[in-house]
C-alpha cells in the first residue's frame, strides 16, 4: 500500500493517495521513520499482493462491498483535507508514512483481536484501515513519537472541525428554544417517560426522574442489542430500512412540525401548498444527500439539522428532572458500552471491523467525507476514492496488503488511463457505493437503531469512532453526541440565563477537546459524551446555583471584575 500511496503522490497529489496515506496515518508516521526505502518496499509488496484479495472481497461482498465505503470515506475525507493535510504530510513526510501504514495494515490483520478492538470502537467503516493502522503502530515502534506528533498536528485542526458543527448545532437549538415557546412548554411527554414529575416534592420528582431515565436507558439497551443481533445475523435490509424510515420521519414530519412552530412563533402566515413544496424539496434533497450522495457541506448541514431537531424533541418531550438524569445515565452508558470488553457498542464495532464494513453514514458526522459522495462533483476523484475504499476494505479483511495493492493498482490505473478507466470503474464503484451505503445505513441503524426515536443514546459508539479517524478521514463524531450536547445547552438556555448557557457551551467544548486529546494519547475509540456532559452538568449546576447570584449582583450594581 505504501508504494501505492507514494506512487499516487508522485503521479499526482491525487486525493486518493492522500486518503490512503491518511488512513494509514499511523503507518505514515512509521513510514517517516522508516524512510523512503521501506516505503518503497511496502509499496511493492502491497502492489503485488493486493489485486486478488481486493477483487475477491468485492465479489464476496454484495453488501460488504460497502465496506469499501468506509475506506472511501476516509479517502474522500482525506481528499477534502488534502489541501490542508498535504502540506503537513510534506512537512512531516507523513505522506510517505501512508505507505508504511499499508504495510502495518497487513500485520494488524495478523493480530486481528487486539488491534481490531481499538479500531472497531472508532468506526466500522474505517475498521480495516484502522486495524492496519493499529497494526502499524504496534509494529512501528520507532515511529511512535512521529506518529504522535502527527496526530497532535491533525488534532488541532480536527478539533476546530468539530467545534464548528457542534457550535452550529447548539446555536440552532438555542435560537429555537429561546425564540419559540413551543419547545419550552410542558404537558406532552414521551411514551418512554410515564412518570411526569407532577409532585412538588423534590424527592418524588427525583424518584420519577430515576424511573423514567432507567426506562429510557432500558429502551436504548434493548434497541442496541436488537441492532447487534440484526447485525450479527446480517439482516442488513432491516437495518437499512430502519435507518431510512428514521431519516424519512425526521426530514419530513419533524421538519413540518418544526416549520409550523417556527411560523407560529413568529406569527407568519403561510399556505399549505407552499409548505408542502418546501418540505418536499427539503426532505428529498436531504434523503438524497444523506443516504446517497451530495455535496459534503449539504450533507453536513442536513446532519446538523437532524441532530438539532432530535435534541429539540428531547427538550420538549422529556420532563425536566428526567432530562438531566437521562444525560447522566446516557453518559455512563456510553462509557460502559464503548469501553467494556463486552460492551455492546464495542462488540458492534468489532463485528463491523471483522466484516470490514463501513459505518452508517446517516448517523455519523464526518468533518471530511461520509461516503464517496464527493465523487459526484469530481467523477475522477470519486472513482479513485471508491477504489481506495475498496482497497481499504480488502486490507481490513486480512488481505490488507494484497487488497490494498489491488486497489492501489486500480487507482494507479485510473490515473494513467484517465477517463476511459474512470467510467468503467466508476460504474462498478457506483454499485459498490450503493452497497456500501446500504451497509453503512445498516451499521448506523445498528449503532443507533433508535435514531428517529427519542431514545437515541445509542449513537455513543459513533462518538468513539468519530475521534479515532482524525488523521485518516478527518474527525467523526456520532450524531448522538451532537444531540446530547445540544440537549444540554438547549435545556440550559430554556431557563433564560445566558451566563449558564455560555458556561455550559465552553465546558462542553473543553470536554470535547479533552476527549480528542485522550484519543491522541490512547489511540483507541473513546466515548465522546462522558467528559463533555460531566463538565456541562457540573458547570450548569454550579453556575446556576453559585455563580448566578454573584454575577447578577455584579451586573445589577454594574461592578466589573
Amino acid at each position: 500500500m505504501d508504494g501505492h500511496v507514494n506512487i499516487d503522490r508522485d503521479d499526482k497529489v491525487v486525493a486518493a493517495a492522500v486518503v490512503e496515506e491518511r488512513v494509514n496515518n499511523k503507518g505514515v508516521k512509521k513510514r517517516r521513520k522508516g524512510t523512503p526505502q521501506q516505503q518503497e518496499e511496502e509499496e511493492e509488496g502491497g502492489g503485488a499482493m493486493p489485486p486478488t484479495p481486493s477483487q475477491e472481497h468485492d465479489g464476496e461482498r454484495g453488501q460488504e462491498s460497502e465496506t469499501p465505503y468506509p475506506s472511501n470515506h476516509p479517502r474522500e475525507g482525506s481528499e477534502a483535507g488534502l489541501v490542508k493535510r498535504l502540506p503537513r504530510g510534506a512537512e512531516g513526510s507523513g505522506d510517505g508514512g501512508g505507505g508504511g501504514g499499508g504495510g502495518g495494515g497487513a500485520p494488524s490483520d495478523s493480530h486481528p483481536p487486539a488491534t481490531t478492538l481499538v479500531p472497531a470502537a472508532r468506526s466500522n467503516a474505517q475498521d480495516p484501515r484502522r486495524s492496519q493502522q493499529q497494526g502499524e503502530w504496534v509494529e512501528g515502534e520507532g515511529g511512535d513519537e512521529d506518529e504522535e506528533e502527527e496526530e497532535l498536528k491533525y488534532g488541532a485542526q480536527h478539533v476546530i472541525k468539530l467545534f464548528i458543527p457542534v457550535s452550529l448545532c447548539m446555536l440552532v437549538v438555542v435560537a429555537t428554544v429561546s425564540s419559540v415557546t413551543f419547545y419550552t412548554e410542558k404537558g406532552t411527554y414521551l411514551l418512554y417517560t410515564p412518570f411526569h414529575e407532577q409532585s412538588n416534592a423534590f424527592g418524588d420528582k427525583l424518584y420519577d426522574a430515576v424511573r423514567n431515565s432507567l426506562i429510557l436507558l432500558g429502551v436504548v439497551i434493548v434497541l442496541t442489542i436488537v441492532l447487534i443481533i440484526l447485525y450479527k445475523k446480517r439482516c442488513y435490509k432491516i437495518i437499512h430500512g430502519w435507518l431510512l424510515m428514521s431519516s424519512l420521519l425526521l426530514l419530513f414530519i419533524f421538519t413540518i412540525l418544526y416549520m409550523m412552530e417556527l411560523l407560529r412563533g413568529y406569527n407568519i402566515g403561510m399556505d399549505w401548498i407552499t409548505i408542502g413544496i418546501v418540505v418536499w424539496n427539503f426532505g428529498v434533497v436531504g434523503m438524497v444527500s444523506i443516504h446517497w450522495q451530495g455535496p459534503l457541506r449539504l450533507q453536513q448541514a442536513y446532519l446538523i439539522f437532524i441532530a438539532s431537531l432530535m435534541s429539540l424533541m428531547f427538550i420538549k418531550y422529556l420532563p425536566e428532572y428526567t432530562l438531566w438524569m437521562v444525560l447522566g445515565v446516557i453518559s455512563i452508558w456510553d462509557l460502559v458500552a464503548v469501553l467494556c470488553p463486552k460492551g455492546p457498542l464495542r462488540i458492534l464495532v468489532e463485528t463491523a471491523q471483522e466484516r470490514n464494513e463501513p459505518i452508517f453514514p446517516a448517523l455519523i458526522y464526518s468533518s471530511n467525507i461520509m461516503y464517496s459522495t464527493l465523487g459526484a462533483a469530481d467523477s475522477e476523484e470519486t472513482t479513485t476514492t471508491s477504489n481506495n475504499s475498496n482497497s481499504g476494505q480488502d486490507g481490513a479483511r486480512g488481505d490488507d496488503r494484497a487488497g490494498a495493492g489491488q486497489e492501489w493498482s486500480q487507482e494507479n490505473g485510473f490515473v494513467a488511463d484517465g477517463e476511459a478507466g474512470f467510467t468503467q470503474e466508476w460504474a462498478q464503484q457506483a454499485d459498490q457505493r450503493a452497497v456500501r451505503r446500504r451497509d453503512q445505513v445498516g451499521n448506523h441503524a445498528r449503532q443507533q437503531p433508535t435514531n428517529t426515536e427519542p431514545s437515541r443514546p445509542q449513537p455513543h459508539p459513533r462518538d468513539l469512532t468519530a475521534q479515532e479517524e482524525e488523521e485518516e478521514r478527518g474527525v467523526k463524531l456520532g450524531l448522538g453526541d451532537f444531540i446530547f450536547y445540544s440537549v444540554l445547552v438547549g435545556k440550559v438556555s430554556a431557563y433564560g440565563n445566558w451566563n449558564t448557557t455560555l458556561a455550559c457551551f465552553i465546558a462542553i467544548l473543553i470536554g470535547l477537546c479533552l476527549t480528542l486529546i485522550m484519543l491522541a494519547i490512547f489511540k483507541k475509540a473513546l466515548p465522546a459524551l462522558p467528559i463533555s456532559i460531566t463538565f456541562g452538568l457540573i458547570f450548569y449546576f454550579s453556575t446556576s446555583q453559585l455563580v448566578a447570584p454573584f454575577t447578577e449582583k455584579l451586573a445589577s450594581e454594574q461592578v466589573y471584575i
Binding site: K153, F163, F539, L546, T551, A555, V559, Y560, I561
Partner: protein
C-alpha cells in the same frame, strides 16, 4: 428602541473583540483552542470566587469582598494557565505544525489568552443585560440612570480590552521575571474593578476606567516591542503581493498551436 439599543450596545461591547477574534484568532486552530481553554480558566476562577462568595454568607451584602477575591482568583488562574502553557510548550511546538510563530513569540499566546479572558468576562458581565435590553420595557423610568445599558456596554468593552493588555503584561512579567509588571497588573485590576464600585457615577467611572485601559494598552505595546515606527508601519496600508501569470509561456503555446 429596545432592539436598536440591543444591537447598538451589543456591537459596541462585542464588536472590537469579535473583530479581533475573527482577524487574529479564527484563522489558526491552535489559537482558537487556546482561546476557549483560557476562557475555561476564567470560568473556573469565577466559579471559585462564587463559591467563596456564597460560602461566606455574612459578607454577601458587601460586594467589595467578593470583588477583591474574584480579582485575586482571576489573577491566580491566569498564573495557573500560564504554568499550564509552559508545561505544554513542547506539545504546542508539535501541534503548531511548522508554524513556530506561536511558540517563539510569547506575546501571541499572551494575547490569545488575554482575549479569551476578556471575551468571556465581557460576555458574562453583559449577556444577561443584553438579553434584557430587547424588552419588553426598559430602564430609567423611575429615576434610575437612563444610560445604564450604554454605560454597561462601554465599561465591559473597557474590561475586555483591559484583560487583553493584562494578559500580555502578565505573561511578559513572568517570562522576564519583571515582577513590577506583575504587581501593576494585579493592582490595576483591583483598581479598575474598585472604580466600578462607584457606579452609577458614570461621569467618573467610565473615564477613569478608560484611562487605565489606554495606559495598560500603552504599556502592553511597549512590552511587546512596539514603538512609534511599528505603529506607523501597522497603520500603513499594505499592498498585497501581486501574482503575475507567466504570460510568456501562454503566448508561446498559443503561437505553437
Amino acid at each position: 428602541m429596545t432592539v436598536a439599543q440591543f444591537f447598538g450596545c451589543g456591537l459596541l461591547a462585542f464588536g472590537p473583540p469579535v473583530a479581533m477574534f475573527a482577524i487574529t484568532i479564527a484563522t489558526d486552530p491552535i489559537r482558537t483552542i487556546m482561546l476557549v481553554a483560557s476562557a475555561f480558566f476564567w470560568l473556573l476562577a469565577l466559579l471559585f470566587s462564587s463559591i467563596l462568595y456564597c460560602a461566606v454568607v455574612q459578607l454577601q451584602d458587601t460586594i467589595v469582598f467578593g470583588l477583591v477575591f474574584s480579582v485575586l482568583f482571576q489573577e491566580l488562574f491566569r498564573f495557573l494557565w500560564f504554568l499550564l502553557i509552559q508545561k505544554a510548550e513542547g506539545g504546542l511546538k508539535k501541534v503548531s505544525d511548522g508554524n513556530v510563530q506561536i511558540v517563539e513569540n510569547k506575546h501571541i499566546l499572551a494575547y490569545v489568552s488575554g482575549l479569551g479572558f476578556g471575551i468571556i468576562s465581557g460576555a458574562f458581565s453583559l449577556v444577561n443585560v443584553l438579553a434584557d435590553m430587547t424588552g419588553p420595557g426598559t430602564v430609567g423610568l423611575k429615576g434610575d440612570p437612563a444610560n445604564f445599558f450604554v454605560a454597561s456596554a462601554v465599561t465591559s468593552l473597557a474590561f475586555t480590552l483591559l484583560h487583553i493588555f493584562w494578559g500580555v503584561l502578565f505573561f511578559n512579567a513572568l517570562h522576564r521575571r519583571a515582577y513590577l509588571q506583575l504587581a501593576y497588573v494585579i493592582l490595576c485590576h483591583l483598581l479598575a474593578s474598585g472604580i466600578t464600585l462607584m457606579n452609577p457615577m458614570y461621569g467618573l467611572t467610565i473615564p477613569t476606567v478608560w484611562v487605565l485601559t489606554v495606559l495598560s494598552g500603552g504599556l502592553a505595546l511597549v512590552v511587546a516591542g512596539g514603538s512609534h515606527s511599528t505603529l506607523a508601519a501597522a497603520c500603513r496600508p499594505r499592498h498585497p503581493p501581486i501574482l503575475r501569470v507567466p504570460t510568456p509561456q501562454l503566448t508561446s503555446q498559443d503561437t505553437a498551436l
